[in-house]
Subunit: 323 residues, 4 copies
């Protein structure tokens, strides 16, 4: 693993549909970066293109990073958070919308290359449907395959990470599971199309994060990871470990075991919580769990107790809390 | 049933956490009312206090209603949509917050009496918790019981309708099911505390709306109803009937059978849909289903097929689509 | 808390709808009791009436207990696991079925009194519906209230614990949440009607076990507890702590804080796991978590970090794993 | 579409974990077939290998079919319903288990060819895990890919249909979504590996059946369909249309639109319902909805209202119930 980063949106206003102006004041990108730089254990940020980076002036963005001694671990393309995308991006029935999405992705890939970022994430949260009988699913799937393929063909030195999510903002999203994202990546026939695994999204899709991560690593398509937690039904984006404990520990075990080569980003949305505290809670948990899975004794214990029913879990708890 | 109304928030901007400035322009209350007045089959609006009504000038609000020949079917107290409530209202650990919530509710009750509104709804969406170990549940429950009782004691000619919801905006809300709301109403010992049943919230709580409505009517505590639909997991607030068909038909059957004495309001949140269209879709569905359940033949058919397994459903479909 | 027990059904064959003859051989009651007696940390069993106890010969059952130095912590009434109950028990449209359910419950109460068992649990898993339009919900609710009241009136020295569950075996069960169970208990007007809280059922109902337990204790109606774990959607009856960690810790904290006066039983269904191992995994987890919540330092730490956002969780993890 | 069939397991005893000897008497295969033959609108059965067919005497099975003038629409391989498979089949850590699964599948393919059955379904309900830290996910995925590929290589004139399911009997199954099944099919590199879509399983995976069917047809990998309904959370196997109405109508619309070339089977499990009634309810619903989607007017109306928000749904309801 390359390290632990923070998505700059974690320091946003916390807007939602009831408190639409958020629970907190607006912070500029520099203010956010300054706060993130104070967090021990964090050495990179994740940003969204073109909102957070400055295409016309990448130098300015680079000096911001230098000032705070942070690197950029990943970059998402903004294809959701403006109403212009409300009828979809890569899957839209309108060829002009699709062209704009592809074009924006190519620009993001260029910027990523300039900044040394290996993976551009595509979260297509407006590509889906609200109602039955609303969309042409066959056209949508074909457009997704062709559009992502075209972007991937643009330059093979930058990866595209499909960030799947069951729903929201569209009531139902097309790329709704790790399997669907993998199938789409395979259908493009491109090795630089893979997955950005958001752990909370995996939980919403009734997946076990460790299992889906292992499958994606076995297929060489796990490119990036977003960390957060939730109560299973919705994408609560809570601090890591505040709900799921063993599943997170198992995920970290598998990332270590299969030498996951990428970054992990904190992707939190602390509506009513202080983002600094939300990050600290996450960093503390990740750090303690990493220490554990990095110990050879832990790895050996896991292998010894495989296929032994609930002993597999008791062995973990015995190592943590004594016999 | 008294009639079908529309909540004025249905004509809002459609803000959400990704598109925080919404999918639509802001409309004033009068603009919203003017649009609602064009909808055939609607003869009332539902509003929130003190945002939509004008405590200092109720006459202005009354003439607005008169101009558009609409009445007010219900009124909610605003205890969620401002960050001042982020640590709760009736259940807050802070006595001043509780006092303000109770005081605001009393003012809403006065205004309701002046406007001829029988039920003031209490949706306590910030009363709950985000994390474990965050809240004192025993104090919260006691504060809820005592606070609601105090408000109910203030004047017995206005009902309080507890609008339960599983989660959101708080990750977990205290009044999270029809049963919990009924238990709280009973615990106050007041006959004017009952339930505002939001059908979408019932579906999120894994309830069957008809069943919970019948139970609440049997206890004389079903005071108001919000209509909307969703895909079961989250409060999508979609037009009525766009997901659930038989469950809605069964709900209307039971409301007719037990002579539900209140109103039904469309409580929609059409992010990417035109609110006029969302209302029309709902009104069309409600109207067709009402026609059905109002026919003596339908009621007789239901009784004849009770306790007959899936024949109960086939009989409904045969009446709708032929044998 | 009185102690930790094991439900004898935990040592059943593990039958399910696909492997209907189960994953394990049948064990007699004595064989089950003999196995349970080997478990360190267990000093009681929970049984079902009249299957496991012998109404005609209670002495035989008593000597079985004496031989193995175990007591009986609780008793359920069998109103689900025979097809005779397929149309319901206390809520049935058939008065004879209701009478039999009430009569069986009274016999169970007598037997409980003789055995020194304070609570008889009523899990009404066949009282509900499969299809819409199948049941008369108003009659069902009234029958539930009246039937449970009649049983409770029979003798006030034995408690009745309503064990709620969202669904299964009926697709939808009437007593489907902690709130509904509390509302039903209150509606009977009897102080000896309360709740048997099954933690897995609470999780399926999207409840936080600690929160519902605290509310029920505040109302003096938490009579008995079943421990098990699941992946949120279905009643998996897995060993305690194999999925939920913090929620279980918080539950134990609140039981300690409010001096829960009853028992906790392991209610497991280890289809493919060895029941001895499933119990040991559960006992180990419960024991370690109890040690923690029993320490004054832990209780103090929880109070100090209340209402502090995710710090409340970080403080717990810091105590467990260091800062 | 080739026609509508019934799975013979629909006429089983209705065993489940509470009523393990079922709600109904055992019927022999011939008794089941005789009952199915009475159902108007059904012209085929679906069976499981080797339980329902007789490898040593296929002639006997053929004459049974001839006697009742039924054909066989599909065949599943039994890899779940015996405890021998409790640690998995194709994904097992034990090579002997994997070999047996592959070998049994090859035999089923031979039998299918002899009976003129085009698709053998693989439902791998024991391939997954109950607990975290129990399984080697990388080995499991690799074994799945290689094992299914080997079976597919055995003969290219018979299709393999992967029947995905989120959980049950294993708490979590590997092939848990339409996307995952498609990814696995693609990973084998074989054109005769595709999907058996069980509509209820799709709903449990939070999929829209029409959407996943269209995607699979676009990839030429939708081989077979199981019809049943549920309340979203568990695999209730209820009659078709008893819960989901519009989603079913939309599915049938897309099957018609994309000329689905396979069969649909009723895959019901009517615990407490008469299987004849459960089939009749399903057949009535399917027949009425098929009539609708087969009308050119309906198809035209759908296309005209695409991308029009909830008008898409209102247009459907207007055609059904008048404007």
């Amino acid at each position: 693993m390359k390290g632990l980063a923070v998505g700059v949106w974690t320091f946003g206003m916390g807007s939602e549909r009831y408190v639409s102006d958020g629970y907190k004041p607006y912070l500029t990108l520099e203010e956010r970066v300054a706060k993130i730089a104070t967090l021990q254990g964090i050495n990179a940020i994740e940003v969204t293109f073109p909102n957070d980076v400055f295409p016309q002036n990448p130098g300015k963005f680079k000096s911001l990073l230098e000032n705070y001694q942070l690197s950029v671990c990943g970059m998402g393309v903004e294809l959701v958070c403006d109403k212009e995308w409300q009828n979809g991006s890569f899957s839209s029935a309108d060829p002009k919308r699709r062209e704009k999405a592809i074009s924006l992705t190519k620009s993001a890939m260029d910027m990523a290359a300039e900044l040394g970022v290996s993976t551009v994430s595509l979260w297509l949260g407006q590509d889906g449907f609200d109602y039955t009988f609303q969309e042409d699913y066959a056209q949508a799937w074909q457009s997704l395959v062709e559009g992502v393929r075209e972007a991937a063909n643009y330059r093979s030195d930058v990866n595209l990470g499909l960030e799947y999510k069951t729903s929201e903002p569209k009531m139902a999203c097309y790329i709704n599971s790790g399997g669907k994202a993998l199938a789409l990546a395979q259908a493009t026939g491109k090795a630089n199309v893979g997955i950005t695994l958001d752990v909370g999204h995996a939980l919403n899709a009734r997946e076990n994060p460790a299992e889906v991560a292992a499958m994606l690593m076995a297929e060489n398509r796990l490119f990036h990871i977003h960390l957060n937690d939730n109560y299973s039904w919705a994408d609560d984006d809570m601090p890591v470990g505040t709900v799921h404990f063993l599943q997170y520990l198992e995920l970290f075990h598998w990332l270590k075991k299969m030498n996951y080569p990428g970054w992990m980003s904190l992707d939190l949305y602390p509506y009513r919580d202080d983002p600094i505290e939300a990050c600290r809670t996450s960093i503390h948990f990740v750090s303690k769990m990493q220490n554990l899975v990095n110990s050879p004794k832990f790895a050996q214990m896991i292998e010894e107790n495989r296929n032994s029913g609930s002993r597999s879990v008791r062995a973990v708890y015995e190592m943590l809390f004594g016999e």
